[in-house]
Symmetry: D2
Subunit: 437 residues, 4 copies
Amino acid sequence: MVNNNTVPGHKPVVETFELLESQVRSYSRNFPAIFNKAKGVQLEGEDGSKYLDFLMGCSTLNYGHNHPVLKDALVDYITDDGVTHSMDMHSDAKERFLFEFHETVLKPRNLDYVLQFPGPTGANAVEAALKLARKVTGRTNVISFTNGFHGVTLGALAATGNEHHRGGAGIDLGGVTRMPYDGYMGADIDTADYLDKVLSDPSSGIDAPAAVIVETVQGEGGLNVASNEWLRKVARITRKHGAMFIVDDIQAGIGRCGSFFSFEAAGVKPDIVTLAKSLSGYGLPMALVLINREYDEWLPGEHNGTFRGNCHAFVTARAALEHFWRDRKGFEATIARSAAQLEQGLRSIASKAGSSKLVLKGRGMMRGLEMPSGKFAAAVIKKCFQNGLIIESAGPNDEIVKCLAPLTITSEEMQSGLDILGKAVAATAAEHERAAA
Amino acid sequence: MVNNNTVPGHKPVVETFELLESQVRSYSRNFPAIFNKAKGVQLEGEDGSKYLDFLMGCSTLNYGHNHPVLKDALVDYITDDGVTHSMDMHSDAKERFLFEFHETVLKPRNLDYVLQFPGPTGANAVEAALKLARKVTGRTNVISFTNGFHGVTLGALAATGNEHHRGGAGIDLGGVTRMPYDGYMGADIDTADYLDKVLSDPSSGIDAPAAVIVETVQGEGGLNVASNEWLRKVARITRKHGAMFIVDDIQAGIGRCGSFFSFEAAGVKPDIVTLAKSLSGYGLPMALVLINREYDEWLPGEHNGTFRGNCHAFVTARAALEHFWRDRKGFEATIARSAAQLEQGLRSIASKAGSSKLVLKGRGMMRGLEMPSGKFAAAVIKKCFQNGLIIESAGPNDEIVKCLAPLTITSEEMQSGLDILGKAVAATAAEHERAAA
Amino acid sequence: MVNNNTVPGHKPVVETFELLESQVRSYSRNFPAIFNKAKGVQLEGEDGSKYLDFLMGCSTLNYGHNHPVLKDALVDYITDDGVTHSMDMHSDAKERFLFEFHETVLKPRNLDYVLQFPGPTGANAVEAALKLARKVTGRTNVISFTNGFHGVTLGALAATGNEHHRGGAGIDLGGVTRMPYDGYMGADIDTADYLDKVLSDPSSGIDAPAAVIVETVQGEGGLNVASNEWLRKVARITRKHGAMFIVDDIQAGIGRCGSFFSFEAAGVKPDIVTLAKSLSGYGLPMALVLINREYDEWLPGEHNGTFRGNCHAFVTARAALEHFWRDRKGFEATIARSAAQLEQGLRSIASKAGSSKLVLKGRGMMRGLEMPSGKFAAAVIKKCFQNGLIIESAGPNDEIVKCLAPLTITSEEMQSGLDILGKAVAATAAEHERAAA
Amino acid sequence: MVNNNTVPGHKPVVETFELLESQVRSYSRNFPAIFNKAKGVQLEGEDGSKYLDFLMGCSTLNYGHNHPVLKDALVDYITDDGVTHSMDMHSDAKERFLFEFHETVLKPRNLDYVLQFPGPTGANAVEAALKLARKVTGRTNVISFTNGFHGVTLGALAATGNEHHRGGAGIDLGGVTRMPYDGYMGADIDTADYLDKVLSDPSSGIDAPAAVIVETVQGEGGLNVASNEWLRKVARITRKHGAMFIVDDIQAGIGRCGSFFSFEAAGVKPDIVTLAKSLSGYGLPMALVLINREYDEWLPGEHNGTFRGNCHAFVTARAALEHFWRDRKGFEATIARSAAQLEQGLRSIASKAGSSKLVLKGRGMMRGLEMPSGKFAAAVIKKCFQNGLIIESAGPNDEIVKCLAPLTITSEEMQSGLDILGKAVAATAAEHERAAA
């Protein structure tokens, strides 16, 4: 039991987590500090230690921690007793977000979506998207891809590939058929052709799908990138077979890949898009399902959730659209500069890894290096933390070190992070070579 | 398409919702105002109209809207650049919440739970609870009850009774067996005996369950109340058959029934408890799974979610515990007084309904009146709104008008609400009698 | 490995089964003889030992073993090179069965069914019936009852209650909701009312069913008998809620309960009936689904199976209809006499069981005695076999000794069997009392 | 309703089927005669018309109709009042079959299997095999292949690819993952590598399987042939990943591909083998599951079925083993000769099809020609029937005309059949060319 500090003088200690929190906690095991302040790319520990954050809530904080413009909007709103919680009742905050999203995001991209606010988690958005696709098509099967990650509630988990998470279900996960992602069977095999073949073959055993759900870059699955050609082909095949094309843009969207939506470069227009993570811009829980207007067959309240009207998130989300995305070209250029610096930096690190072969993965500001093993990656991550850089891994065996720096990072901050990473990789590679010798 | 207001002069209009939001929206259909301010029991429309709120986010705002103590703590935290989003990394805000929850809630009630922070929705807490119960027991089946409501993501939806929501699944909902709730088969039949019989009978066809999940008062199901005896008996039967006893206290907990947990009066200690809604106290998304320490068999990260570390909610949740629950006896007495006034008021309204028979339902501050029909209830709700009271219905046919006033309501505010409700009921009953004549 | 007998001189030995057959074998464990001849009620062991057979293939041999009239028809057909196997192509043998079934069974009972020949097992008939009900209604859920037994292929197994069999599935069994059978909750509770309530309640959590499937007497479940009133009520409730009323008459039908169909006394007309076991009359594999003509929405070959045209079974089935059922009144009277003798005999045995309370179960020629325990019943069965009577148990704990003598048994044969059973019960009861003393 | 023939003078008419049998009937639609005699390759219509049967119960009658040696054994057994039906009790007939199967089939091939007798249908054997694999491994997932056919009861149907049959389920089919069969992705892609990759990748989304179930030649799927190398590789991969390797030899086994088991040429030893169709040799319902002795973890009666002891089938099955398979080399040579004649004949037919490109499919006596379309194939089949040849199609679009002549066919009979087929193809091709001109 926790020792009985008098509460007034209570000082946070790590033991509290160890004694009172479930074993399910995970990131905290890699980063055993207690954080109490955050600004931009920086996290500050209770003891005054400072860290560059290249994890950023797994792409939830694309504008950095506590961006001042968003912060001001939020504090004003709270101070002024704006409505905080209203389920799906009309609020001023929601109306302004809807309007801004339409003006700044949808209209310029010529997208005619209606917005659904599900429970404020990405998994909930995925659950809503799959439900709707099944309802609209009257079909059950959903196609998802190897190494895809779509959340861990049961409906979403069925579409998620990761065995660690699937194993926690405790019940058969049904209704989803797995197909090989772009490149999964090697560079020479077009896996979209296989998809088309099984959907065209009445005895393939793959039931006609309600939807095909895909990430353009697989964030948790290892920064695998689908080519624009493949995405367009998959979109065509999906429609040809009467299914809905869903892009799960929860991790790759909101600028992470260079544009607001990650699929803009491919020129596809999904039937349904799921957004969450960086949508509120401030780390506040918010999720969104964009639905091609003609498929909005929901009955009132058919999918619901108490926190589907998180007004604080509406306020910061709107502020972020105004501040960053009204000047689309300018912000895209900013991201492109950072992305170029990141790519060059990672290439340079890889080139100095000696006999340890590192592979550059991802695109835009969603980049990483595939290490020789998960163990190697874990050593790199540990060294980074010791030197003030918070960074994490992804991939089937946690072998890819993933950089999710804020899109707003300065060139100097980026360089500092890359330097720490570079040294950690070099040191780990050296250890590796010594061990092998 | 939305008309092209220049954004600086943008003024919120209802048309924006109609044009841009999905048909899934529901509460807004009953209350077609645009709200922009909220304080205590009061919601304010953009046009300056004022409403008493007896819906309160379906029991999410037990301390009223924007309680000043919580507001101050939150504004200070934000202003000070406290960490907003940290997934499950250690934060100062989280540590303080953990500590306070232990000191103020668990220790005085002699409960040895560890805390899991799932995604910040009640459904996510239920999904986590069911996963864990299945994992710990190695069984698949879960017992839930007629008229139960546990959320709409697929794992939770399987346990939910409501046909409207179940129908949205688009896929078979499995792994759950439905049992009759206390009183469901009439006052003379002890449905717990039936539960015991099917679990004892090796050819009953009811597989040995991982868990029995129950609400002590069914909020959405119609304010049905389980007796203390029945709850104790069900808890005993559950353990006897090797299953985990889960109380879903999302709507009935956090003071709504008179004590922090709704099951305190029954003297049961669940193996798992799910909390959400009023947990943060300020309407911010937050959910919690309390797990008997000996069953905390989670692997790190086995159940996860981006927004599982919503620090703003930790701050307000802690402030609420300090402000309201450190003085447990005092706050319980406050609730008891309001509950008595509410009960008396509703009895009085029922007694004046003429030939329309109204039945008092629920307990504590979770009370309502069963109207003769859903249509009758809808007419009452509409009249209430016209007279400045926001109130909603529940039950299989939306026939129960449900009062979820804040626990912090004053006697005068309560009386005002009851007066509006009383007049609406009387007027509807009169119309009803005229129509029948 | 089996010892290397030269095959010409091979003499059957029990070791062959022990060495070469899977552990799944079951009845052979209770009756460790090798049988080689059979006639009427009698089975003969290879060593010349003779047994009265009151198991009769679990009601598969209602006309006794190798009835001479059926045998002659079969031998003639084979000798004459009649078609043996023809899948669902037209054969003379099938046409004659169809015609006879219509003339002798359907027309006199005013039943307008079409006949589907599924794979020749009861489980296959149940699978076909459930598929069709789901197809016709567009619903998934099926209601089955506590202690029901409908077979062990996955679709049928989901409807079966027995834990021993369900446990073998290795996969979640879905799509079935279990309801309490007549009398399950005690004599005073009408379980049909509960069925009606959950189907009428839109938030009961019991999805609208495609079908209700019921046995009028639960053969494997313990000879539980549904009253005629209850059956009529369940049939009415089923139709009221748009579902198909299916009677699984595999064990209780074909005369076992006194009339061709077991549901004739109740005056119900099921939408679908499943038959198998005694249908061929000679123990040959054959199954049948009777479908209300207006629900015959099958597409050609939608449900199929290689052995769905077992012509040998058509020949004996037709011969049995001609021989026994053209004279309906006469055969029903014969059954009634035997049933009366059986009932009286079992009552007499029960009355002499001393302090061991035995309960008479079942109806017609489907009768048994509930023993104080499964262990008691096992002792009785063992003693019976030692004295030349083959008899088996049923019920949740195998505590009911079940008499399934042929309908064609003579009064003397019946008495001999009852005598052996009576002595076995008395001896077991005496042992029981000694042990308790 | 059927017209009221007096039964004594009843003469079979096609109308009886139309009036009394369900719409589910299928083969009878292509072959609208009423058959009443059968011998060897010949079926005889009631009107005296004679047909060569190249359908042979879809490979159920590998020794021809009513083979005299089997017939004599069966008639003797029946005449002598041998036990007909005994569930899984010991019978003389079963012992002799077990012994013969061991001596003649298992021992010479060095296979140490125990035998399970499931319900007498192939689907039931598949259900038993999958259940056992799931039980032994504690896993749920099963890998089956594109175009595979394993039966239509729910457990088996999940593994079957055919959309027409899957569509009849009326419920979600779960627990099976589909992989591309050998050659499915083109000649250059080794689909076994893909299987290995997904099973090795912890985030592929393909759960660790209990079993991989495969046909060596896909009978219903279109006579697709797996190479010996691929089969060996798949067997290796299956074991490497801790799963059971199941060969469904229901259609391809019992000599159809040249040896008793179809997998003998590949040199693999499956963990479980399913047999049915030609096992009894006489068209009588019988199925068998062969289980590697070390995996026989069944509990007594865990999988059962009333007709699992069809003694008539045991008698003919044993007689067939004695008559055909004791002289293994001789019978294999006979089959090889017929197979060579068949291959040559089909090649010749294909070479004369003009501009219609026909492709030879299958191997051994399981051969066919892929026609340009299902419509083309249907025209061929119709012409064949008009000229006295019964033959059917298979494949995703019923485009493959499939020859399943008896293994015992004479050279003259084979030539007659090929001549009819050749003429039908030539005529159809000519019509086709005229239509295209």
